[in-house]
Symmetry: D2
Subunit: 333 residues, 4 copies
């Protein structure tokens, strides 16, 4: 970590600051230039409060040289992490196709969709039981009953399952769930992250709508620092001024995260775009950008013609998408 | 709620949709125009899933005519809500001056700051005990011990206190806290909001970094729909592309929220700007914009010259700010 | 266009508004519902000032049913536009590979790069002669001399060229340029767009950093409404809060623009990401998302080892990229 | 300027870079730390291409210690610039009240509004003659005729005038205009800025919708570097995700710009909010935040009840606003 001191800082002020930094178990290398004095901080700078340091009156700016995350950092773990989920693997060349309905609605629905997506090539089943909704008056999911139906589908169809947790008090319900999802709104619910860090379940951590990639990695670090290294990162769109899509899918996140971290990165084009017809091109783009998996919404409700336009694909649309994604992966090998 | 159907929608499709809407206990008024068909939905549309409706293939767009929030809505509650906090009142012409340190650090610190800010005119003491931090390695607050020190300061100095909750499992510790704060990162932690809705404590609800004003009001609605109507809204800056300030303080939020809702609105210029020298002008601007209160960080640490530049004001700076804010309020009467 | 009137609007106010709209040569279809009155405006609504209409006191909101652009609109021109540039074609299944240095620096440089990219498969040469720079003290390009060198390279190597115009007074210099580029900062320089609309040159129109896709199409409409229908749209990243990349490449723009418009869409991953190592994955993703071309920076300066890290690819890196993009295109056929 | 080199940079690479920097007339101070090597660049770093330097493979990051603008920089010009406009002054304690209609529509209209706003205390008249519009089909202003009417109002009423230029070819028409406005969309139309720098007219430079404050100052620098030091900066809202207001007014810009620059800063709440009822509170907030002036839209069209809801204030509303702004200014003295 480098701290650049303001022009006009007195030797006493510098000495005072250096003493304070050394008190935090850091070595300090002082370099006095013509215009500025630069302090090089050596040691475990991940514990330095960068914001406080920046705000000091004599400090022009602070610059991290090493990233503030350690366990998620590729520098200290050069090899890709591969996460095992049932028979599926994610990362290090293994690609996960995660599919299923937005919400679990009934036994018939979830099993039918599970069968269809498995046949098309999905290797993990998704489905929402606890649903975070902007409005308290909107459907909040089937909750416990939804999880039971997912487990039923898992047994029947033989796919591992991923579903979202909103509250640590419900953790017991997730005992047989294969991957626990942390939604975008909870990406910085730090107490939840810490508790999930004490489990040994794979955690699918979605990027928050207004969170930087570094913040996403710091949230992964919250989980990992408690002992659970099975974190799957998920890009699902960020909030921008553009209104043509629900969010703006940031596909460069895939490469940036792969550079900075050894953790696998999956992409969710369904929530990012909010429109079924944009899902296939964005899923293909994610595969071409090097993602370790994609997560798409698929529903199967032939009796309800009304739902055709939703952000979910129909099973035949998903089947065609799987086919295209596989061809892109072959092309890139 | 208005649903505009696409050109080319067949009568059968329209009839199908109308039947589905009526099944949801809505009356539907159909207006067929030359170019489009418009459905007017009448009844309790706050329960309609607007996103699902928008995503249907035959729907061009959906437009709410009435807002999706009810208890927070000024239409149904025209008079300003006034919230009593100890001897202080917020809203309806009562202005709250909330001040105190970012973090509680010691008994001496919190009592000294409390005395100073009370003398300058603050009527509520703030102080962080549980601190949400981006990094798991950063100081996470004094936690239980911090709350005890705040209560000590409350007894000694006679100011009501506000402090942040991060996790519903710690609620018991807040029994004697006057106002419970929900931080920006937890604005959409819906399970937390619901639990706080079952208490009768005033809740200070901070706007999330990437949340619209309507989403803020929907989160207030989560609290209010459980029975707790004592919600104080707080604008604290949103995330934008500008990097000269930590966040961009959106002062037009004050007027917009006052139009839409009867709830009081306070402004936190310390977290928004991240720089002490920007706090006084933004606090004055907030008062001139019609805010019901401001919340500023004040610390008192003469032994540590290093902290001078932080986003906190010193007690003399806060004293001068109080003086200026009072003069602006007089000017606007 | 639909105008929704506020609850409580009097019949006189409605009649007044209807008269004003009819005065603008619009037919108005009035639908009075229980909660709201909806006006359906029929006729050439592209000339209606939507902002003024929205701001009227009795108007709750205004919603376009038809888009405000006509000549760029796919509804009125269902077939993809194919633009001929020298021997190359863009759109309707023809893919353009546009490559070259950020700035033209010397005859040797531009000809060497032109030869290299042509050999790898580029069919259009790019190169900056007039350079928009944030700072008045930064290198502003070789200007006239740069254009002469580009024309020299065109003759020598046989590739059509694209280069940026900043000021209509320099138009004469572009007589032999094949495609004129309008940069992101000039996307809403409406006088420039109108003048370019009077030429018959293909125009490569880059999306502004903070402009919506609809605004991009309105700027295309400025060019087309003057008679020049040869517009190529270019997504090059938008400004967001994320700082890991220079801008955020919005690849869903490709599909959204293809839905709304018949014009070809190319993607510039070099300016969007600002980092050479992110260019290949984003270029592949753009191809997989269905772009009609990509535009990448390539330089060839073996004597200056310093430049290796810039956002430009080296010729061998570009050659490999071309190979991968072709394989993706084959996979998607 | 500080350049931090990557861990692992070889002495040869460092020497190569240092030679290249020295070739650009910079002195280089090398400081080798345990983890990183820091180069301190001394000399006229405003000409260094920071982006190029950052992109070099061996460079971890580059940090400016001195700002890249010189003539706009308060460091080199500590006293506030005061700009004389007719009888009015802006900056250094002088407050400008700029008012008038969005567009000039007729002689009667502009003179009536000019009289009204002068009586209420406005000291500069605004009015649009050339109007940048998103759509080519929208009203583009009265152009030459509009400027003539403004000059007529100037003569009749005795207020200096400000109006927008869109194209340098129309400069002759502005000979008797007192202040030339550069709109948000042209903030980085660098050729226009340079030409205006060759005049001696005061220039009102509006911040672009997606431009940082540093970029605004760099655009001011474009004008000033050509010899014209009479630049008035204008904050008019930035584009964010929030849709409750047209743009997000960034009032902290006032303080930040005053810190960085000696130039006066005015605020335009009309365009920022897009709603008349939000203009008075935001204008008061701007005054309280320390702005050197405000610019508001006022129209006077009693025959057209339809326009009541526009973003413009009526003369009586403007009169009341002037009264409140004066009281805030007195309060702050």
């Amino acid at each position: 970590m480098i701290a650049i001191l303001k022009h006009g800082t007195t030797p006493q002020q510098t000495a005072h600051l250096v003493a304070w930094l050394k008190h935090q178990n850091l070595d300090v290398h002082i370099s006095e230039g013509a215009e500025v004095t630069v302090l090089g901080l050596i040691g475990d700078t991940s514990r330095v409060d960068m914001e406080l340091l920046s705000s000091l009156e004599i400090v022009e700016s602070v610059k991290r040289v090493s990233e503030p995350f350690k366990q998620a950092n590729r520098k200290f773990h050069p090899k890709d992490t591969i996460i095992q989920v049932g028979d599926a693997r994610i990362g290090g060349g293994y690609f996960a196709m995660i599919a299923g309905p937005c919400s679990v609605e009934s036994e018939e629905q979830i099993i039918e969709v599970a069968r269809a997506v498995k046949e098309s090539g999905a290797n993990i089943l998704r489905g929402g039981a606890f649903k975070p909704r902007t409005s308290p008056y909107a459907f909040q999911g089937m909750k416990d009953a939804g999880i039971k139906l997912l487990l039923e589908a898992k047994r029947e169809v033989g796919l591992p399952i991923v579903t979202e947790i909103m509250n640590i008090s419900t953790l017991d319900l997730f005992a047989d769930v294969d991957v626990i999802q942390v939604g975008a709104r909870n990406m910085q619910n730090f107490d939840l992250l810490k508790e999930l860090g004490k489990t040994n379940k794979p955690i699918l951590l979605k990027r928050g709508l207004a969170n930087t990639l570094q913040e996403l990695l710091m949230s992964a670090e919250y989980i990992m620092s408690e002992g659970n290294e099975n974190v799957i990162l998920c890009e699902r769109g960020i909030r921008t001024f553009e209104t043509a899509t629900r969010n703006t899918l940031d596909l460069s996140a895939v490469s940036v995260l792969h550079e900075l971290s050894h953790l696998p990165v999956v992409v969710d084009p369904s929530h990012a775009t909010g429109k079924a017809r944009l899902v296939p091109p964005m899923a293909c783009a994610a595969a071409a950008a090097g993602a370790d998996g994609i997560m798409v919404e698929v529903h199967n409700n032939p009796s309800c013609a009304l739902c055709d336009g939703a952000q979910s694909l129909t099973p035949p649309q998903f089947d065609e998408l799987c086919h295209r994604v596989r061809k892109i992966q072959e092309a890139l090998q």
